[in-house]
Structure formats: C-alpha cells, structure tokens
Symmetry: C2
Subunit: 376 residues, 2 copies
C-alpha cells in the first residue's frame, strides 16, 4: 500500500470538505493501493499532530470530529479528546510544522495542503518546498505574492499543484500544463472566472439594472458579504496572475490592469456598505446600461473577464461576440477560452461551476493524488 | 537529467508528427531536466533500433529523416543510412520489441507509444505492460478489443495513458480521471465526438439536405474516403466504449447500441461507393429532414452523440435542447458534457478541435511526459 502523508493547513469550508472527501474515498483509494494518511491539521492557532509521523495518522472518527468542530466555528484548541495526538499552538506550531517537513520531506515524502485564505502561509510553504515536500494550494495568495516567493514555491514544478485556485475543480491548470508540456504555444487566454460577476453580467444583458442585479445576488448569497469584494475585480486579478505566471510571465499584481466596477470614492475606506448599497450602486446603473446598449448594437455582449495576450494581462469589462463560448455564457458558470497553435481558430473551451466547497475540495484531492508516483 | 526511453509503434501522420514535436521540444524539455530518448521506431514491417537501448538514442537528424521518408509513403526498410542502429523485420521485429521491454521495463523504464490504427498491437502491448513498461495510445483499437485484453492493458493504471483516443488532445480523459480520483460520481457523459458528424448535423440544422452536406464534407476532405466509415457511427462507438470502460463498466463493443446513419442494405458490402453517393445518400434526405423539423418544433436540434448513463451506452442521433453546450455546437468541434455530483445541474463542458495530427500528437506527448515521475 502506497502511503501519502498529508498536513492540512486551514480547516474552513474547503478544508473540512477535503477531510470529508478523504474519509469517504477510503475504500476507493484502497482499491488503487493508496492511503492518504492525514498526519496533521492546522487552523490559525493550533496544530493537531499524530504522535509518530512515520506510521500513525489521525483516524477517521477524529477527522470527522474536527469537521464537526470547525463547522460550528470552534477552534481546534477546544478539541478535548484526541488520543495519542498532540496539540501545538502559536510559536510552537510553525517550528513543529518545519520539523516534520524536514523529517519526512526527503525520506517518505509529505504533502502540505493550503486551504486557508491567508497570505501568511507563503513563508512556511516556501520552506517546506525546499525541504522536499509537495504542496497543493486552494489558497491563491501564496501564488500571487511577490515573484521571489513564487519562484521558491515552483522551484520543483512536479512538487506543486494548484488546480483549485482557478475555477475551483475545473481542469483549467491541468489543461494548460498539458498544452505547455507538449510544446504548444498559448497565444491568448480569456476567461470569466468569477461566478458572481458572470451572473451579474448575464442578468444585466437581459435588461435588468446593475444595482438590482447586485442586490439580488447579495440576497441569494452569491456575493461576498460586502459585494465590493467581488466588484473590485481583485479576486479575478489574482486568478489572472496565477494563469499568466503559469505561462512563464514574470509579473506581479501591479502589472495587471484591473477595472473595478465601482469608482475609488465608493470604496470600503470612504463609503459604508449601507451607503454603497443604497445610493452608490444605483448611481452606476446608467453607465453600465449604456455600455450594454452599445455592445448590443455591435452584436456583442459585455462580460467581466481576464484577458492574457501578447504582453498584457487585463481584468475588466470586455465586449465579446454574442456567439462565442463566453458570449453565450449564462448564470454563474466559469468559462475559459484558450487559443494556441493547436486551438488557433476556435479555442479549447472549459466550462462549469467554478466555485463551491465540494468542487474546490475535489480539485484539491485530485491534485494530492496526482503526486502518487512521487511517494514510495 | 531524467531520461524517458520511448519506442514508437506506427509512423503515419500522428507518429511522424509526434517525432517532430519531440525534436522541436528538445530545449523546452531540457529546461525541465527531461530528455525523451527515442530508442526505436516501428512501421508495419520494420523496427529501427539503437545499438544500445540503455544509453543511445535515434538522433534528431535520423528522426527527421524517418519523418521525411514516411511522409512520402516509403517503408522504414528503405532507410539507407542509420549509423549504428539496427533494422529488424517481420518475425524478428516482435521478438526484439519484447526483448527490450524485458530489459528496460523494470530497470530504467520504457514507454511504448502506439500511433498505429491497427488491431494487431494489443498482444504486444499487453506483454510489455506485464514487463513493467508504460504505454501511451492514440490507437483506439487495443482499448476496444475484448475485456480480457483491456484488463491486461490497464493492469497498472498509472502506467497507461490514452488521452488522444477521445477528442484528440482535448483533456477529456484527464478530466474524467481527476473526477474519479476525487471520489466524484459521474452520472452521465454525453458528447459529440466526431468532428465530421458534428459538422454534418449542424449544417443539416440550417436546412441543407443531408446528402448535399455529406457530399460537400467529402469534397472538403472532412470525411473518410468512403463517408460510410464516418456515417456508420463505429468510430464514435469505439470512443464511447473507451469512456464507459474508464468509468469501470465491464462492457464490449456489442453492448453498445449504435445507430448507423445509413441502412444495412447500403453498406460497403452490398453497395458501391459511387452508387451510395449517387442514389443511396439522397434517398436518406427526407427522413432526416423530417426528424430535424420535429426537433425544431420541440425547440431542439439533432446531434449525433454518444450517451453514457445509468446502465446504457448509446451512439446515435439525439434531440437536444438548442440552448445547451451540445445544442449550440457549430462546425467540427468536439464537445463533451459531464454530469456528476460536483457538476449536477450544469455539466462540466470541454470543447475544441477533436481531430488533426498536430493536436493528437500533442496529446500523446503530454501523456508521455505525465509518466516522468515513474522514471529515474
């Protein structure tokens, strides 16, 4: 039986869903001669670790107890029964993580899985890569910090996977990596990578006022609590940066031209959420309505996309042909069009749900299993 | 430098394109610390093999000479200058192939690449898998012979890849494998997997007579020389079988219900190609025209698809919603819709060119590189 030891950083929605997937896939993976051995789980304050990282694992009942605890918003530190496992906190936590990385990385191997939404993990991840460990990320932030960190993270390209950072479980990065491996040259990537903005733009296309659509989306739970977190385009920009760097571009966030859907003076630092929803948002309707009309006259529709082409990486509203995969997009699906030597006239298109804990965690799990040939 | 020794079976269009890709990717792969070492190349009659399979390879000028030769429809046996390499023919050929598989399979590893269109390779491939070798197929036939052979081929699932057997280089099989690895349950796959029939059905939708569309497609070189090879649906059925078996279905070709677009009495055994084109084909127009009208009244369009769902695997004409990824398909792109737990309401969709030597060979090359972690 091949054993893949795993340390999970972050047990919010995606992390706990991953633990549940791991537990429910036990017999499937056993049939393939595989066992995922969860040796440690971290939240922001605590690490619960097995007594012997070479042989033991957190058993399934403990993993499910961790899920229950975290789903009720409790801290790992409140776990009362954890058998032979040990709990480390604060300063001890980071030291202990690096200890086990050093111990296992170059011997039996170890995979770190970052399901946090933190920009704080990048330091530890760069160190564990150096120590021979594998890394899977659902967290975009380590991949979008400065170029030095990025290069440390991808030092051993076969030791890092991050499919779920773009389009959740959609096989976007896998597909781009396959094209690149075969020497295909990618000329252009254009994608609608925010389910929220995809939904908003297709509703606006139907003639609904922008402000009404955003309010409805907020009511349906499609947006972040403050919709400006979506409307700023920064989340899409992070995904665009990840894709551009995958193509070998040595760029940073500030090289990406990002069009926010609200002006700076309506930002969270100068306007309250209530004011934005009540008066800021409706004042934006006319402009978007006019742009929509102009696009329609040209036989086009508006989409909020990332566009990577030539030497530019843009994020914002684009007029696109109604009769293209992106133009035909309705609702909250993500769509990515990839143009390359092999897909020159018509693109390679990948479309589907690009968010959700289940899908995101499934993408993370597939990434972990992708490392199996690296483990003894 | 990590070395992946490769033996190529078949150097028709896809095989020679693969050799050209390998040569043109040399510096790209070297940057990744990889070298693809082509130790042998076979056509149907001859094998050209390096003098020392552990250290030597067919150099790039020889590989390109082989491409030139094969592109001018000459046999490998006519190669006059091949340095220290040796040429083996007929009975010697198969013995020699198995010799090197036994020598390298469990030591430094060896990848066999089947770019033939032959049903004869399956025996050798089953043997080399047993001997520890890896296998990449663009050839559908070994995967669609009887279940015993199939199980021998996939004995070590990590040692076999065959992305290019379905949708050429489109990441269909990769994506399905990722879903399966993460424990997702696939409820339904529906796909338009013949560029030719996709083109025909979308032209018919525009009101053109079926016979005219097929004749035009033949004229444009979109069909096989005898269009009945496409219209029979057998090529789509092979792809459907490959997908169904990937899902774990233990079925054979005769478990697939295949709808041919011409009746049995117009088959190649009873009607000449000229008669079929002149009188057979036009006699089919009325029926398809009527079906198209009925579909249109229902808000649907006709597509020639494979459908894998429940316990049935069907290949034939289906009425599908105009406003679905398959319904919106125009031209010769392939489209696959995958419904699963993660993609339940709206499918995961993969779309793009599903044919062409360049794309197919690129898919094969990506598959070969996917094995890199298995090689020392």
């Amino acid at each position: 039986m091949k054993s893949i030891p795993v340390v999970l950083l972050g047990c919010g929605g995606v992390g706990t869903q991953l633990l549940q997937h791991i537990v429910s896939c036990r017999s499937l993976h056993a049939k393939q001669g595989l066992v995922l051995r969860v040796v440690g789980v971290c939240d922001s304050k605590s690490l619960i670790l097995v007594s012997d990282v070479f042989t033991k694992d957190l058993d399934d009942s403990l993993l499910l107890e961790i899920c229950r605890l975290k789903n009720s918003s409790s801290s790992l530190a409140t776990l009362t029964s954890f058998g032979e496992c040990k709990v480390f906190t604060n300063l001890e936590l980071k030291r202990k993580v690096l200890d086990i990385a050093a111990l296992l990385g170059k011997s039996i191997g170890l995979t770190f899985v970052d399901c946090t939404a933190s920009s704080e993990t990048v330091g530890v991840l760069c160190r564990v890569v150096e120590l021979g460990c594998c890394v899977v990320l659902a967290n975009k932030k380590p991949l979008t910090s400065d170029m030095d960190d990025y290069e440390k993270l991808v030092l051993h390209p076969r030791h890092i996977r991050h499919e779920s950072t773009v389009g959740a479980g959609l096989p976007v990065i896998t597909s781009i990596n396959r094209l690149l491996a075969s020497g295909d040259t990618i000329a252009r990537i254009i994608g609608s990578l925010s389910g929220t903005l995809g939904y908003v733009m297709s509703e606006v296309e139907d003639g609904k006022p922008f402000s009404e659509v955003v309010k409805a989306a907020k009511g349906l739970g499609y947006t972040e609590p403050d919709p400006r977190d979506d409307l700023s385009g920064m989340d899409v920009a992070r995904k665009a940066l990840i894709l551009a760097r995958l193509l070998g571009w040595r760029i940073n966030m500030d090289n990406i031209k990002v069009e926010s859907l609200y002006p700076q003076e309506m930002g969270p630092n100068t306007m309250s959420l209530d004011d934005f929803m009540a008066s800021g948002l409706p004042s934006l309707d006319k402009d978007i309505e006019e742009k929509t009309k102009v696009a329609s006259i040209n036989g086009n529709v508006l989409r909020y996309v990332c566009m990577i082409e030539g030497s530019s990486c843009l994020v914002g509203i684009k007029e696109l042909p109604k009769d293209s995969p992106l133009g035909r997009l309705r609702g909250s699906d993500n769509v990515v069009e990839i143009y390359s030597r092999c897909y020159s006239e018509l693109p390679l298109v990948i479309q589907g749900a690009g968010a959700g804990n289940d899908t995101t965690a499934a993408g993370v799990l597939a990434d972990i299993l992708d490392f199996q040939d690296l483990f003894p």
